[in-house]
Symmetry: C2
Subunit: 338 residues, 2 copies
DNA sequence: ATGAAAGCGCTAACAA
DNA sequence: TTGTTAGCGCTTTCAT
């Protein structure tokens, strides 16, 4: 900037004014400065600018497990849109379900002075966030409650949604309902299971604990769990799946067997129309989910000082999939050939 | 930091050394400084630090059309992983296919002094990037060639992949092959169409221009185009779909009609196993795609000064989908119910 | 091993 | 309308 000032024969302050479009500069100077700036390839250093101004960085961070998961990428998109309306950019980081990595990311982002953070917590301890929040980096937690602290949180109505789905299975006459989940301790899974139990109890039905399986993580493992249950002595006639991955796995297994079993699953599935059998899904507006969190965050960034709030996104039941499968055996997807 | 120094009774320099883990500090001081820092809730301002050091911001940017598209989010994830190995964070921005927005984003990111940029260009003019690149922000273009400048680029083998797919259709005896694309002028579409034509010509087949349709953008529109062609006087027996959205649309339409028509489509489809009919897809490693671009970028960031390079990712043919559909009519997916 | 001084690039506040 | 001075928070350099 000094060089530009020198080349244009003015002071740095005039240059500063020109590049910030301040109206109080003589047109001749504007011209000269601009010309010199272009010639020298000058670019304002926003770091210095923000430093001086003690200003916000106009950046927020998003920490999720894995951006590849369409749920998170859609969330990222919604958040980015809200951020854009606040002239703010979004930094994304994937924790890869590693609590250590998650903490590292959060701390790193705070050090970089992001204006705020949206975190989808991996099961872990979040007390260290308290410090960062108190020190001036607002955070909103999404989808799961943070552990050990009270903070702004946006959740899905896990209990209500799971109960509604379970009720539908019960209404269809099912009494023996299996639950397929992963990581029993994960907040969402625990809540959804709670909703399942509540609905069963409300209907006066006993839960057969041997039908609850929380060992699967991948689609394939979910399919294996379903297979084990169906091959058992007293197989279930309905399945409650705790998330979309589980649902897909169970659907695959049932399709393989052409078993007449009802499925309810948490989370909508974007290719749901291609599922080979009708499935009831517990959906919710991901758009609303992301926007709500982003809006809460920006309210904090703009200085709101109220107590931590929890916002719940409601769910709805959706029917997806095609009726009546063909009698021909399904063919597994081929791998790459060349 | 001054406050911490005062509280600990040392100079700011000592504080600086402590928080940077420099080995030349007396243990007693380390203790005192750390204690004071914790007590005062001190956090190093990395902005100031980077400013002084004239250092890189340890951030790169990624500009895509829409993060919700699984293709881009997977790309983002791969790039993030490479970035992480360089202790670098990733800022993502969506251009929403708006060239103006794309330029705005790129300029904004450059102003923020990102160390480098990966751009999936929307059809537009990219000469302004030349300036930014010369000014020190390396850029790598992904998936499509930038317009009007020469720069590092990573592309898919669009022509070769499309030709291979077309050849397969021809080998199966098809002579009348339709092409369903969107935005004929988009680099990828144009190249894929070129590959299609090349394969047809090599087989001595004439291309019926009335079978090439580039008006669709959504899945539904692609289905409509397919329907129009099939209802025409001399319908095609094979379809070449220019991307995954087109493929899904055509599959839906053919499934609705239970037509015996072969489909080849560019891009793999993650739920391919659920497609109701066998489809040949032209796939490629998205992982390799993203990593290659990120690695090219970091090579530039580390100072590589060679001429702009173009790297081509090869494709492979994959068979997805289930054989033999059922005789029952398909049921459209339901909307939300509550 | 520690500290004082200078300065990174910019802008707020005031002076001219 | 323009320029001068000072300082954002940190680190580099050099002296102690």
């Amino acid at each position: 900037m000094r060089d530009v000032a020198q080349a244009a024969g003015v002071s740095v302050m005039t240059v500063s004014r020109v590049i910030n479009n301040e109206p109080t500069v003589h047109p001749d100077y504007i011209d000269r400065v601009l010309k010199a700036a272009v010639q020298l390839g000058f670019r304002r250093n926003n770091l210095a600018r923000d430093l001086r101004a003690g200003r916000e960085t106009a950046t927020i961070g998003l920490v999720t497990e894995d951006l590849r998961n369409p749920f998170y990428s859609q969330l990222a998109r919604e958040i980015e849109q809200v951020a854009r309306s606040h002239d703010t950019l979004l930094i994304t980081g994937s924790s890869e379900e590693d609590p250590a990595r998650e903490q590292e990311l959060i701390v790193e982002l705070c050090h970089r002075r992001v204006d705020g953070l949206i975190v989808v917590p991996t099961a872990s301890n979040h007390v260290f966030c308290r410090t960062e929040i108190d020190l001036g980096t607002p955070m909103v937690f999404l989808d799961r409650k943070p552990e050990g602290i009270e903070a702004d949180t946006v959740l899905i109505d896990n209990v209500g949604g799971a109960a509604a789905g379970t009720e539908r299975l019960i209404a269809r006459g099912h009494r023996r309902i299996a639950v397929i989940g992963y990581e029993q301790d994960l907040y969402t899974i625990a809540e959804r299971t709670r909703g399942f139990r509540a609905a069963m109890e409300a209907a006066g039905l006993e839960v057969d604990e041997s039908l609850l399986r929380f060992g699967a993580f991948t689609t394939e493992q979910a399919a294996a769990e379903a297979a084990a249950l169906l091959d058992g002595p007293n197989p279930p006639t309905g399945f409650f799946c705790c998330n979309n991955r589980m649902t897909v796995g169970v659907v695959e297994e049932l399709d393989r067997r052409r078993a007449e079993v009802d499925i309810v699953g948490f989370d909508d599935i974007d290719f749901g129309k291609f599922l080979p059998m009708p499935v009831t899904l517990i959906g919710y507006s991901v758009e609303q989910f992301g926007r709500r969190a982003a809006e809460m965050l920006f309210r904090r960034i703009r200085g709101y000082r109220g107590r931590p709030q929890t916002s719940i996104i409601r769910t709805n039941l959706i029917t997806r999939g095609r009726r009546a499968s063909s009698p021909a055996p399904a063919v597994r997807a081929g791998a790459g050939e060349g």
